[in-house]
Amino acid sequence: MPKAAIVADKLNKWFGVGEARTYAVKEVSFEANWGEMLYIVGPSGSGKTTLLSMISGILRPNSGSVAIDGRDLWSQSDDEIADFRLNTIGFVFQDYHLFPRLTTAENVAIPLILQKRNWGDALSTAAQCLKIVDLADKAQLPPTKLSGGEQQRVAIARAIVHQPAILVFDEPTASLDGDTGRKIVSFVKAEILTSKRCIILVTHDSRIFEYSDRIMEMEDGRITGFQQGQTV
């Protein structure tokens, strides 16, 4: 296993053409390592989410490359990239995007369902993941019956249920109060991050900086610096 989980090299993403061209991400290069919890921080519009989308196989860069575990991501076909997302990435969206018409357990099982795992096995694995996030007793409830913090933990369970190597969190504490946010992130750091996993977390919530291993600062689409997280 290469030491670097993610290697981004001279990534560029722009929108518009000609004089209207606007760079969302410009000449961004960085590495994220296995066992590392890397934060991407910066003000709104700094290109954090665009960068996260490019390294997780959702948004194709205009130029530059992304290598995941030594394999070039964007040289693959659309179907291969979809498979890569399904098998390698666990997503925790800012708004959770849980399905209100499914039970909590069914929500957690979705990546396994997409992997064409047997429905019963998928639910059983989902139930185990709900134990990890301490929501075993809420497995049969719809997410709408859960609090914001509980919904966030369901989203985390869904992100880890298929054992992905890379987890991406987009503003995970944006909808949570300070205490809940800290609890969630400390839980992720303690229970989810392993030496064979890399977590990329986009945030501008300084209350959770203490849990990062490294912080990458961005502004106007460029990296402006790195800091060791524990020292912030």
Binding site: H97, R101, N118
Partner: protein
């Protein structure tokens, strides 16, 4: 594939409000389509009642009168002899078909259809419920058909006398036939000779010549020879088709049925299309999330097509069931209710519901394929 279809099923049926609205739209549409086309099928069948009930293989007639059995143009006697002389004809007999007025005991008159069967063979005779077929040869003997119009003759019994065009008539038998008539008149069977005697006729009296070919392979030749005589020979099915064709294309019944069927289709399409599209729009971010998590575009298409198809099938089943229930209940209460479920109208309704599902699904598929997972990240 099975797993993602289970997911599609749960996403659909767990949204009870939308699913109910989709089912109501589809069911209502199928119900209307089946009702309209069944009524029309019933009308077509009843319009051909005499052809079905007599059951002859070949009907020879004046080519100018193929619209209905009642609107026949009488043919001269030599046609019967000429047809009998055609190679391949096993036998040929005359048939009289006309209308008359029966004077009821209360002094009122009731129109009746009178079928005059060939005196020597009684080809086309109905199945008797009461009486003896030989009694049709008795003086003034008539057989009455016990169908939905039977009570209009004051529920006659064997021996009941009546007056028909100032002639005395006696009921000598009560019969049943496969199909009741369309025109709401009771039917009386008698002999050909008595029919043309009792009912005022033009110079010619044979309404139809009924032909039994020696073999089916003789039919084309018989038709050809009849055509050389200046007349028309149609097989049983061809004659029924001709009557149906007249009702479908040359009366307002077919046009009105078609219009109502199209309106039913449009009602179903608008309810289902709009509801399904709203369902997709409301779930668009979830489809985007699925796509972000690794679902392929074609898998999302399967999800939508399954949801549209499943709704269509359930709605079709409910619509057909509801129609069947209503037709059955109506026939129990109203014996003359003209409606008939056929494979053709069930297939038509199925085709239309598939079109509704396809159009509704297509609109959803377009939206879902356009959504970018990046939009989910951006919120």
């Amino acid at each position: 594939m099975k797993q993602i279809l289970i997911l599609a099923y749960k996403l659909l049926v767990n949204d009870k409000g939308k699913y109910f609205a989709l089912l109501v739209g589809t069911t209502f549409s199928v119900f209307l389509i089946v009702q309209m086309t069944s009524s029309f099928a019933g009308i077509l069948t009843k319009a051909s009642a005499t052809v079905i009930n007599i059951g002859a293989n070949i009907w020879v007639m004046d080519p100018a009168a193929t619209n209905s059995v009642l609107s026949n143009v009488p043919m001269p006697d030599y046609v019967l002899d000429a047809v009998r002389s055609i190679n391949g004809v096993k036998y040929a007999v005359p048939l009289y078909s006309g209308t008359a007025l029966v004077k009821l005991h209360d002094g009122t008159y009731q129109a009746v259809s009178v079928i005059g069967l060939d005196d020597s063979s009684l080809v086309g005779r109905p199945k008797l419920l009461e009486g003896d077929i030989d009694d049709i040869f008795a003086e003034n003997g008539f057989i009455v058909v016990k169908d939905e119009e039977f009570p209009k003759l004051e529920n006659p019994k064997i021996g009941t006398e009546f007056e028909l065009n100032d002639y005395r008539g006696v009921i000598v038998g009560i019969a049943t036939v496969p199909t009741g008539g369309l025109y709401g008149t009771p039917t009386l069977y008698t002999t050909y000779y008595r029919a043309i005697t009792y009912i005022p006729s033009m110079r010619f009296t044979i309404s139809y010549v009924l032909v039994q070919p020696k073999a089916d392979s003789d039919i084309p030749y018989i038709k050809q020879q009849v055509a050389r005589l200046g007349y028309l020979a149609l097989t049983n099915h061809e004659y029924q088709d001709a009557i149906s064709s007249y009702l479908e294309y040359k009366t307002s019944i077919g046009t009105n049925t078609l219009l109502m069927t199209i309106i039913s289709f449009l009602v179903g399409l608008s309810i289902c299309g709009q509801t399904f599209y709203t369902f997709i729009i409301e779930n668009l971010e979830h489809f985007g999330a699925l796509k972000a998590m690794g679902a392929k575009g074609r898998e999302l298409v399967y999800v939508i097509l399954f949801q549209a198809g499943f709704t269509a099938l359930v709605g079709y089943g409910l619509g057909v069931g509801l129609s069947t229930l209503l037709i059955t209940a109506a026939k129990l209460r109203l014996p003359e209710y003209t409606s008939r479920l056929t494979y053709t109208n069930l297939s038509l309704a199925f085709l239309m519901v598939l079109i509704i599902a396809s159009i509704s699904g297509y609109a959803g598929v377009r939206r879902v394929l356009k959504i970018e997972p990046f939009e989910i990240f951006r919120g």
